[in-house]
Structures are given as C-alpha cells and as structure tokens.
C-alpha cells in the first residue's frame, strides 16, 4: 500500500511500460524504467509502479484502495489481465521482465489508462439494480440463507474490467456483446430471490449478440482477480432462456 521501503538490500528491476500521452505523442511506445526493489520483500506490481512514478511523474495509471477491492488498477501484466495491487512481483516477473500494458480492447486514454465507457455502457444495459413490483415491506424482505447463497460468487464483482477486456467476443463486438462482467451482473439479479423482473431481463438478452456471442473461451474465468466465474453465469442465463421455451 505504501511505496516507502526501508533502504535494505535492493536489486534492479526493469519495467517495460506502455506510454502514450495524447497531448504530445503521435503514437504509443514502450519505455523501460529501472527501479530498485528490496530483495527480501515481495512487493506488488502497484508498489513497483508507484516507485516508477516517483522517477517519472508523468507516468499515469489508476489506483485507489491498493488491496484488490476497488477495481481501479486493472491492467495487462506480462500478457495477462490482473489487478496491479494484488499481483506480487514474484508471480508477475517472468525471466526478469515485467511488461505493463493497458487492458486490451478499449481505447487508451493515456499510458495504462483505458476509456471504460463502453464497458460501463454495457453494464447499464442489463439494468444492474433490483427491480421489484410488490410494495416494500416495513422491514427487510425475507430471504433464506440458501437463497442468499445463490448470490455468492456474483455480488463480489468489483467492475475492474479484467474479464471483458480479456474476452475476444467483447473485443470484436464491444457495442453488441455485453461482455462477461455485465452478464455476471445480469445473472446476479436474475438469481436474486427478491428480484421480480426475470422475464424482462431474459427478453432483453434474447438476441443474437448480447449473450449468445459468448463462445465459452473462458478467458474471463482465468483472469478474474476475485476468482469469479462469468462463463458459468452466462450458461445459467442460457439455461433459463432455453427452459422457458417449454
């Protein structure tokens, strides 16, 4: 969480970082930044970036909580999407190399920062909020622990974008295919015993692209920093869609 490290035994690590500043760069380039990291302490990729930013303050990336719960610092780390703050250097650095790029598939704003508008637009399409028709009771709605358990593995999504930007179907049709993150949220509400809009939700998904463009590649599952399974959520929705045909 803090870039401050005691001056102990250190070694040099070269970060190879994607750089692009729309104000001055015609096109993007890769830049090496050498930093010193302690030998006997395993830093996170975010710590390495914070050290690099002390050397070059123009280096830009998003970050907030530093503990893997806010979803700010999704990026492509040595070829795989992940959160910089919970990816240890020991795991990320391969053959003394650490290549950091923005998440693929979305327009780059600057350096490691992508424009996530398309990602959030798709999220909004699934109406990611509870829809009820009955009047709210005076107290809470009742829900059994078993019904609540249906939401485990769904409500934990932090909207970091690692999954959707690792998904070829989302790369090819980011405006039509909703992407794993949005579909996981869709299932989070369909699966909620309190939600009363299942039919409308299913109707909205029943076209050629929104959901059915998932080809089961499962990149989403392999990169999710929270260990969630969007592919399974998508297949659960598909089962519902097919079952209601009779």
């Amino acid at each position: 969480m803090s870039a401050t490290i005691p001056l102990e035994e250190v070694k040099t690590l070269t970060l190879n970082i994607y750089r692009f500043d729309p104000g001055k760069d015609e096109k993007a380039y890769m830049q090496d930044i050498e930093i010193e990291v302690p030998v006997n302490k395993d830093l996170m990729v975010l710590d390495a970036l914070l050290i690099a930013k002390e050397k070059d303050t123009s280096l830009s990336f998003r970050r907030s909580c530093g503990e893997g719960v806010c979803g700010s610092d999704g990026m492509n780390i040595n070829g795989k999407n992940g959160l910089a703050c919970v990816t240890p250097l020991s795991e990320a650095v391969k053959r003394d190399k650490l290549v950091l790029k923005p998440m693929p598939g979305l327009p780059v704003v600057r350096d490691l920062i992508v424009d996530m508008k398309q990602f959030f637009d798709q999220l909004e399409k699934v109406k990611p909020y509870l829809i009820t028709k009955d009047e709210d009771p005076e107290q809470e709605r009742m829900q059994s622990p078993e019904e609540r358990e249906e939401l485990d593995g769904l409500y934990e999504c932090i909207l970091c974008g690692c999954c959707s930007t690792a998904c070829p179907s989302f790369w090819w049709n980011p405006d039509k295919f909703l992407g794993p993150a949005a579909l996981l949220q869709s299932w989070r509400f369909i699966a909620d015993s309190r939600d009363q809009a299942t039919e409308e939700r299913l109707d909205d998904l029943d076209d050629a692209f929104s959901l059915y463009r998932c080809h089961g590649i499962m990149n989403c599952v392999s990169v999710c920093p929270k260990g969630l399974n969007p592919t399974e959520a998508i297949s659960n929705i598909r089962k519902k869609l097919i079952n209601r045909k009779g």
Partner: protein
Amino acid sequence: MKVDEIIKAQDLPIKDFDGIIIGGGGSGMRASLQLAESGLNTAVISKVFPTRSHTVSAQGGITCAIQSDDPEDDWRWHMFDTVKGSDYIGDQDAIEYMCSEGPKAVFELEHMGMPFSRTEEGRIYQRPFGGQSKDYGKGGQASRTCAAADRTGHSLLHTLYQANLKAGTNFLNEWFAIDLVLNSEDEVTGVVAFEIESGEIFYIRSKATVLATGGAGRIYASTTNALINSGDGIGMALRAGLPVQDIEMWQFHPTGIYGHGTLVTEGCRGEGGYLINKDGERFMERYAPNTKDLASRDVVSRAMAKEILEGRGCGPNEDHIMLRLDHLGPGVVHKRLPGVTELSKTFAHVDPAVEPIPVVPTCHYMMGGVPTNIHGQVITIKNGADSVVNGLYAAGEVACVSVHGGNRLGGNSLLDLVVFGRAAGISIEKSLKQGANLKPSSNEDIEQALSRLNKLNASQGGKETDELKKEMQNNMQNNFGVFRREDLMEKGIQDLGNSREAVENIYLSDKSASFNTARIEALEMQNLFEVAEATAITANERKESRGAHARDDYTERDDDNWLKHSIYFSSTKTVSKRDVNFRPTTVQAFQPSERAY
C-alpha cells in the same frame, strides 16, 4: 477551456445543477439518490468511478438496532454505546437521530437490493462488534452489526450506485473538484472542477453543494485508507474560511496488517478471534476485563501499543501483535470472513484458519471534520455562535455532525454515511422547494477558487509532491500517533510550518492536460497538508486524554475544561471550543462517567 492553461474566471464555461455532490462514496451517493428520486437535477462529481470510493473497503458491517439478532434490542442502547464510545463529546441530538433513524435507512438499503447475509429466519444477519452492549451497558455483549459477509462496504456502495443508475443521477465520473466558489455573503454557489480525462474545466453552479469527500488517512505514513483519501473536502472548507471540528481525533484501528496497513475487520474479533502478545497471552483480559478484545477501538489500540512498547510484541523486532482466528475452524473463518481470508493470504501470506495474522494499530478514521447540524448543513462560528453556511452541506467522514466524538464505534461509519447522506438530501429537497436563493458569485469569487490551479500551472521550480508528502506523512506518524506529547507535537508543528510555503508552491513538472495524475496528486497534497496542520495544532491544544487522543503529558480526561468540541480555523491557526450537545429530544441525556470496558 483546459486545465493546463492559466484560466480567467470570465472565460470559464458553466454547468448548472439543482444539487451537486462532491464525492461518490456512500454518503455522497445516498444524498444524490435522495435528490434524484425527488426529481431534482442532481450530479455526483467523483474523482474516481464511484465504486472505487473508499466506502468499498468497509468490511464488518453497519451497526443498527434492527432487532434481528435480538428482538428486544433498542436503539437507545445503541445510542448509549455510541455516546460512551465517543468519550462524551459526541453530540447527543445527532447520535439520537442516527440511532433512531438507522433502522429505516438500513431497511431502505435492503429494499434497494443490498445482499446482506441472512439468519435462518431470513432476516438480516447481525454480528457482535466492539463497544456494543445491551441495556445501557448492563446486559452484556450485543450483536448489532448488520453484515454482508465481510464485504459490507462493497455491497453497500455497489447497491447505492445501482440505485442511482435506476434513479437517473448524473455522474461526472473522474472529475476533480478544485475549490468551492463563494459569493459576497459567504454562501456557497458551486465548485470549480475539471474532467480528468479531457482536462476540460468548468464552474459547476448549484443551489446546493454537498461535501462528501470522505477521509484523509493519507496524512499518515501507515494507514488503512485508500490512496485517494486526501481530505479534499477539508482542504476546500478550510480554504473557504470555514472551520473544522475535533480534527485531532484520529482513530487507529487495532488490526491493520503488519507491514502493509490493509485492514482486517473488527468482525474477526466479533466472530470470536482474539489478540495475543509474544508470550501467547490474551492480554486484553488485563486491559478490559469485561469486554476483552471487544472493547472500543481506542482502548484496544492503546493496549496493543503498550504491549509493544513494553517489549511484548511479536516477531524478531517485537513490533507487532498476533490476531488468532484458527481456533474458530475453517468453517467460520472462510464463510463469515472470506474477504479477510483473501487479504491475509495476499498481504500477510497466512491462512487465518491455520495461522494467526500479524497486526498493528493503523490510522483508520477521521472522527473530526466540517461541523454540521443533523440536517447536514455546514456550520461556521460567527461571534462565538453557530451559523449555518447557506448552500453548503456535508455528510460522511468529511463531516463532523458529530456522532463519533473522540472515538468511533465499529460499524457506525456506514450508518453515519447513509443516515446523514439521506438527511442532507432530505433537507436540500426541502430548502429547494421553499425556493432557496443564493446571490450569484462574481468573477473575483470564481478567480479565488481558480488560484490554486493557476499557481500550480505557473510553477517553475521548487519541491515536488512526493518529497513533501513523505516528509509530512513521517512527521504525522512519528509525532501525532497513538500516544502524543507536547515536545514532539511542537516539533511536528514547526516542521509543518516550515513546509507550508513549499506546499503552496508545489512544482508541477508535467503540465499536460489529459489524465495528468501528477497534477491531481499535487492538488491532493495541498488538501492533505491542510488536514495535517489542523490535526497537529488542535492535538497540541487539547490538553487532556480523551477517546483516541491519548497524551503522555495529560493522561486524564479533563471534563472541566475539555468536555468540548475543538474548532479550528486555518486562516488564524487558532483553536476555540464549542459546546457539545447534551439535548436529545426523546430521551434523557447520558451524562459523562468513567469509561470502562
């Protein structure tokens, strides 16, 4: 008009709203929801995408007497605990409002879809937390903290974002607010802010402005707070000539992960975990014989600090304490505390179901803030009397209403932010319906709000942000930590005073417009500095020990002189006193007594 130019007020484009909320965390989005649902044109200005706000990190829960665990539970008992926890400088009208309105606010969250954990009966699950009692301290430990596993903040924040999408709130995501715009009557008419991505800058004019900017834990070197917690609202308020209250009161959470600062929830101890020193002794039995590890946070943190100072810390450097959970078994640990399990594995390399977690008291929460009344209206002091600042509201951690006084109870921050975010929304709605009118701000007024940015853009040399920030953070950590004493604090204040000029004239080497995080960090640093200096001066001034403010040189609570709020203005750097409210409307006030756990 872009943020990398020297900007003149008359050239600044304007955006108009009925209500703006600066900050997209829990209190901000609860306020915006109230406004958007009432049909007002509402905008949330958030420097990060709203679900990246620090509310997301809250783990254990939201404390509220919803009578699920105990059908006999009573909000008055919760009120008693909160008053006692505050070490008697929490305002009792505000605490009364929070505890009695709380159940409504929590049920509303459930209605919005918040995925609370459940009891067998299907009600919201409640767990025990520190400082909770039944029957005004006489009935033993209560279980009053409503939880969604140990991801309550995440669940709450995402639910509020979802509800705001449904309500049609305008989101100005990744916009940074520079300073408040006042008018000649010292009313607030909006804010100057820029879109971080494009660098486009605007005067955002509004009939009501809500500060919901959260905390400022980053004034310390070691903190559980997110990197974005830079006290922007405090900085803006102080620069606008408004005071802060009880800003010396900083909560050190007992269980920040050693070496990293990441929080593990008090719910760990609520679920049966306990702290041990290097001898394996459950030392809290000595410090708080009745409640042991579930004494309030200030008490536990001081006990831990003492164990370490007296040579009973764990590890080769004897500089931390261990939190044991392994006796609870993997069933409880992994089911009730999945987030803590994940964090412990990532940052401490231990599975808490097998090994204890190394922890130290870590800066966690700012009890003080911008003083408000229970309607969220910001208060200033004029000629010794309270005076409402028209057009300005505050809620959540940035505000000091004050429900936490000298020490906040676990689970009360989430309740604070939904109850008072909602209250601010309700009172804005009311005042706009009555046709609140603010005098327009002049170009000179707007110029004032632009001056900080223009200075930064014109900077040609001097110290840069990182260096100044490290100096300040180490200063605060060493001189204004769990235990405080005059000589160290005076040295600290002097060091801060020496850096003020450099902070006001930070050198920004990269002056680009688009997503320039260096510019944002410089602006944040200036806000942090305001908080740090306010904390330092006020802490030295409060010559007693109360709540989280523990002094080696004044070890006792001094009710004769300090049963008071502190009020600090940065323009004069002076501290004055303000009466604590002892006038709840439906119950008898709780009078100060000795605080034992």
